[in-house]
C-alpha cells in the first residue's frame, strides 16, 4: 500500500507534532492540578499511645478464629504441628495457618487494611518499620518481660512500647571444623579472643597452604547482619536508643580492622553464605572457621555430607580479654496488627507458644519435622532456655555435641541492645556495599565508616 504512504506520512507527522504538545500539556496539567488529587490520609493509627496497647481477652473459654502468617519452609511446618497442642488448651480458637511470602505482602496488606492477619512472623529488623501498624504489647508481656532476654526486648521496643512477642534468640557462635584443625595440631577450644583466632588461622594456613580458614561473607545483606553480630558483642549497633547513628565509633573501627586484616593477610574465604562455592570450600577443609549465628547448624546437618560430624560450635572469641563471648545475629518475633480482628486471641496463641512449657516444647523439642528438635535457634524466654534442661537433643552433625548448652550459655553473654532502626535494611545499600568494597581492597575501614555514616544519615535518617 505504498501508494497511500506520502499523504499518510504527512498527516501523521502533523498529528505527531500536535500529539507531543498535548503530552507536554497533560504532564503540566498532572503536575499543576495536584490540589484536586485525593486526600492523603491513612486509615488506621489514631496516634493515642494508650489506645494502642493490647489487652488479653476476658472470660474463661475465649473462642473465635485467628489467621496466622508464617514464612513457608521448615518453621511453618513446626508451628503448624504446634497448633494441635494449642487447641488442647484453647479448643474454641480456630487457627488458620498460612504460609506467606511476608516480605512481599505484609506492608501492602497493612496499608490496605484488608484481610489483615491476626498475627505475623517478622524479622526483628522489620519490627520498627512496621510498628505504626502494630499493637503495643507491653501490657500483655508485662508478666514475662523480666524473664525474656534483654536484647530481644530492646530490639522490639520503640518509644516505650513493645511491638513484637520475642520468638528466638540467635547467639553468634564460632563454628569450626574440629577434625581438620586437630589434624594440624590446633585446639580451637583455646581460642579466647579474635587475636587468638587470627593466630590459629595463620597456623592452620601454614600447615595447609591452600586454606583460607575464616569465612568472609560476600552477600552485602548478610555481611551487614554479621557485622551487627560483632557489634552486638561490643554492646553497640548502628543506631542508639534514640535512633541516632553511631557507626563512626572505635568499636566498628576495631571490627572492620579485623575483617580487613583477615582479607589482606589472605586468611579469609570470600563467599556468599552456603552457596555452592562456600559449601565446596567448607567440604574441602579450606574454610574451617565460621563465625555465625546458631542457625549455621543447619549446614553440617544437611549441606555438608563430607564433613558432617567434624564440626563443633563454641562461643565467639571476645574482642578483648574478658569481653562478651557472643552477640545477636538476626532473630524474629511475632507482631499483632492493629487491624487484626481477633488480636487478643492471637496473643493467646503466641503466649502459649513462647511462654507455656507445652508450647515451647512443641516448637523446639523433638517433633515430626525435626525428630531431634529444632536446633537452629533457642528460645528467648529464659525459663525455656535453661542450659540444664535442653529442649533439642545433641547434634550428630556436630559430633554429638550438646549445642543447646553452648548456645544457651552464649546467649546470656549477649550485651543489651537498642531497637533496630526501621532503615536498617536500607542501610545495606551503603554500609553493606561499602564493607564489600573494603574487602575488595577499594576502601579502608576508616573510609567505610565515614562514607557509610554520611550516606546513611543523608539518605535514610534525614529522609524519615
Amino acid at each position: 500500500m505504498h501508494q497511500l504512504t506520502p499523504t499518510r506520512a504527512t498527516r501523521r507527522r502533523i498529528a505527531r507534532r500536535r500529539g507531543l504538545t498535548v503530552i507536554g500539556g497533560a504532564a503540566i496539567l498532572a503536575l499543576g492540578l495536584t490540589a484536586c488529587g485525593p486526600d492523603i490520609t491513612a486509615g488506621s493509627g489514631d496516634g493515642d499511645a494508650s489506645a494502642g496497647r493490647l489487652q488479653a481477652p476476658d472470660g474463661d473459654s475465649p473462642s473465635g478464629e485467628i489467621t496466622i502468617w508464617d514464612r513457608s519452609g521448615d518453621l511453618y511446618e513446626v508451628f503448624d504441628a504446634a497448633i494441635e497442642d494449642f487447641n488442647e488448651v484453647y479448643p474454641d480458637i480456630t487457627v488458620n495457618h498460612e504460609a506467606v511470602d511476608i516480605d512481599a505482602k505484609l506492608q501492602n496488606t497493612l496499608i490496605t487494611g484488608t484481610d489483615v492477619p491476626d498475627g505475623v512472623f517478622l524479622d526483628d529488623a522489620k519490627v520498627a518499620g512496621l510498628s505504626d501498624y502494630m499493637w503495643d504489647l507491653s501490657d500483655v508481656l508485662d508478666p514475662y518481660v523480666d524473664d525474656i532476654a534483654q536484647q530481644k526486648i530492646d530490639v522490639n521496643s520503640i518509644d516505650g512500647g513493645i511491638y513484637g512477642v520475642p520468638y528466638d534468640s540467635n547467639p553468634g557462635l564460632l563454628y569450626y571444623n574440629a577434625t581438620a584443625l586437630e589434624a594440624q595440631g590446633i585446639d580451637a577450644t583455646t581460642i579466647e579472643t579474635y587475636d587468638d583466632l587470627l593466630a590459629a588461622a595463620r597456623e592452620y594456613q601454614e600447615a595447609v597452604p591452600s586454606a583460607k580458614p575464616i569465612h568472609l561473607e560476600q552477600s552485602a545483606f548478610l555481611g551487614q547482619l554479621q557485622l551487627e553480630m560483632y557489634a552486638s558483642q561490643l554492646g553497640t549497633s548502628l543506631a542508639d536508643a534514640d535512633g541516632e547513628l553511631r557507626l563512626d565509633s572505635p568499636e566498628y573501627e576495631q571490627i572492620l580492622g579485623f575483617l580487613d586484616t583477615v582479607q589482606k593477610d589472605g586468611l579469609g574465604t570470600r563467599a556468599e553464605y552456603l552457596t555452592p562455592t562456600d559449601i565446596a570450600e567448607l567440604e574441602s577443609g579450606n574454610q574451617v572457621f565460621y563465625p555465625w549465628a546458631i542457625w549455621f547448624s543447619f549446614a553440617p546437618q544437611q549441606l555438608l555430607p563430607e564433613t558432617a560430624g567434624d564440626w563443633r560450635a563454641m562461643p565467639l572469641p571476645a574482642w578483648e580479654d574478658g569481653g562478651a563471648r557472643s552477640g545477636a545475629m538476626g532473630g524474629s518475633s511475632f507482631s499483632i496488627p492493629r487491624d487484626a480482628e481477633n488480636a487478643d486471641l492471637a496473643w493467646l496463641f503466641y503466649e502459649f507458644l513462647m511462654f507455656d512449657e507445652a508450647g515451647y516444647t512443641a516448637v523446639w523439642g523433638p517433633n515430626d519435622v525435626y525428630p531431634n528438635g529444632l536446633n537452629t535457634s533457642i528460645p528467648s524466654y529464659e525459663p525455656a532456655a535453661d542450659p540444664a534442661a535442653p529442649l533439642f537433643e545433641p547434634v550428630d552433625a556436630l559430633g554429638g555435641q550438646d549445642l543447646w548448652s553452648v548456645a544457651t550459655e552464649a546467649s546470656t553473654e549477649i550485651p543489651a541492645a537498642a531497637p533496630t532502626p526501621s532503615w536498617w535494611a536500607g542501610a545495606v545499600d551503603y554500609l553493606g556495599n561499602d564493607v564489600q568494597r573494603m574487602l575488595d581492597g577499594e576502601l579502608s575501614p576508616a573510609e567505610v565508616l565515614e562514607k557509610s555514616s554520611a550516606d546513611i544519615q543523608a539518605n535514610l535518617i534525614d529522609r524519615q
Partner: protein
C-alpha cells in the same frame, strides 16, 4: 520448499548478484542456487536460533535431571538419569494448580475486556474527531511513559476504598484497557482506508455497525497480534498481582513462581539450593509450556498481527 532447493553448497561462488535469482540458477526463478551470501545468512540465522532457543531448551531438559546434577554438571544430559523428581517435589510444595486456575480466570475476563474495548476506543481515536480527543490521547501517551510500579501504591489504596483487595476484580480491571493496547490498535485502525468506512456509511451502516462489520474484519490480523500480546502480558504480569492479591488463594501463576524464586535469592534457612533450583526449573517449564504451545499454534496470526500493527517505513 521443494527438495531441489536444498542443493549442495559446492557450487556457490559464481553468484555475485544476490537478489537476482534468475541469473544465478539458469533461468528458473523457483530454483535459486545457494550463493555465498545465502550460506552466511543461514549461518547467522542459525546462530541466532541456537542462541534464542538454548536457554529455554536447557531449562526444559534440566528440569528432568536429578536436582544435584543441575548444579554439579549443568551441561550434561544423561537420559539414563531421567527423573520426574523435580516435578513431583514441585507439585507437592507449590500450589501451581491454583496458580493456573487464577491466571486462567483473569486471562479470560481481562482478555475479553481488552480485546473488545481497546479496538472500539482506538477506532474512535483513529477515525473520528471529538472534543478532548487529543487531550485523552496525550494522556494515554504519558501513561505509556510512566513506570507502572509507581502507580501501585495509589491503586492499592483505591482497591481498599472499593473493598476489592484479594478479589478477581482487582486483578482484572486495572490495566484492562491499557494505554499500549489503545496506542497499538489506533496504529492498526489508522491504516484502514477512510473510503472503506465512508462506503459502508453510505450503505446505511450504523457507526457501531461499521466498527463491527467493516473495521473488525479488516483488522483481524492486527487484532490477533493484540490478542497474543494481551494474553502474554496478562499471563506474565507479576508486579501487580503480587501486591493486589496478598492472599494465597488468589495467587496467579507468576506470583507462585516468584515466591518460589525467593526461596533461592532470599538465603532462606532450610532451603536447599539444589532442590529449590530443581523445583524452580520444573515450575518454570510448566509455566512456559502453555504460552509456547499457544504461540506456536497462533504464530502466523501473531506475527502477521505485529506486522500489521507497527509503524511502517
Amino acid at each position: 520448499m521443494t527438495a531441489s532447493t536444498l542443493t549442495v553448497p559446492g557450487t556457490d561462488d559464481a553468484d555475485s548478484v544476490p537478489r537476482d535469482d534468475t541469473a544465478a540458477s539458469g533461468g528458473s526463478p523457483r530454483r535459486p542456487r545457494r550463493s555465498r551470501p545465502a550460506i552466511t545468512s543461514h549461518v547467522f540465522l542459525a546462530l541466532l536460533l541456537v542462541g534464542f532457543l538454548a536457554p529455554v531448551v536447557w531449562a526444559l531438559l534440566s528440569a528432568f535431571k536429578p536436582a544435584n546434577d543441575i548444579i554439579s554438571s549443568p551441561l550434561a544430559f544423561d537420559p539414563s538419569r531421567f527423573t520426574l523428581d523435580n516435578y513431583i517435589a514441585m507439585f507437592e510444595d507449590v500450589p501451581i494448580a491454583s496458580g493456573f486456575l487464577n491466571t486462567g480466570i483473569v486471562l479470560v475476563f481481562k482478555g475479553a475486556i481488552t480485546l473488545f474495548f481497546a479496538p472500539l476506543a482506538a477506532y474512535a481515536f483513529a477515525k473520528y474527531e471529538f472534543i478532548g480527543k487529543n487531550l485523552i490521547f496525550g494522556a494515554v501517551l504519558v501513561t505509556l511513559m510512566l513506570p507502572t510500579i509507581v502507580l501501585i501504591i495509589p491503586l492499592l489504596l483505591e482497591m481498599k476504598q472499593f473493598g476489592w483487595v484479594n478479589t478477581y476484580q482487582a486483578l482484572i480491571l486495572p490495566g484492562s484497557v491499557d494505554a499500549f493496547a489503545i496506542f497499538w490498535m489506533r496504529q492498526v485502525i489508522a491504516a484502514v482506508p477512510d473510503e472503506l468506512l465512508d462506503a459502508a456509511r453510505v450503505d446505511g451502516c450504523g457507526e457501531f455497525g461499521i466498527f463491527w462489520r467493516v473495521v473488525l474484519p479488516v483488522i483481524r490480523p492486527g487484532l490477533a497480534g493484540l490478542a497474543v500480546l494481551t494474553i502474554m502480558n496478562i499471563y506474565n504480569d507479576f508486579v501487580w498481582p503480587v501486591v493486589a492479591a496478598s492472599s494465597d488463594r488468589m495467587a496467579t501463576l507468576q506470583v507462585v513462581l516468584s515466591t518460589l524464586a525467593q526461596n533461592i535469592t532470599g538465603n532462606r534457612i532450610g532451603a536447599d539450593y539444589a532442590t529449590v533450583t530443581g523445583e524452580l526449573l520444573a515450575a518454570s517449564s510448566i509455566a512456559l509450556i502453555p504460552l509456547l504451545v499457544l504461540f506456536i499454534a497462533l504464530q502466523r496470526h501473531f506475527i502477521n498481527g505485529i506486522l500489521a500493527g507497527s509503524v511502517k517505513g
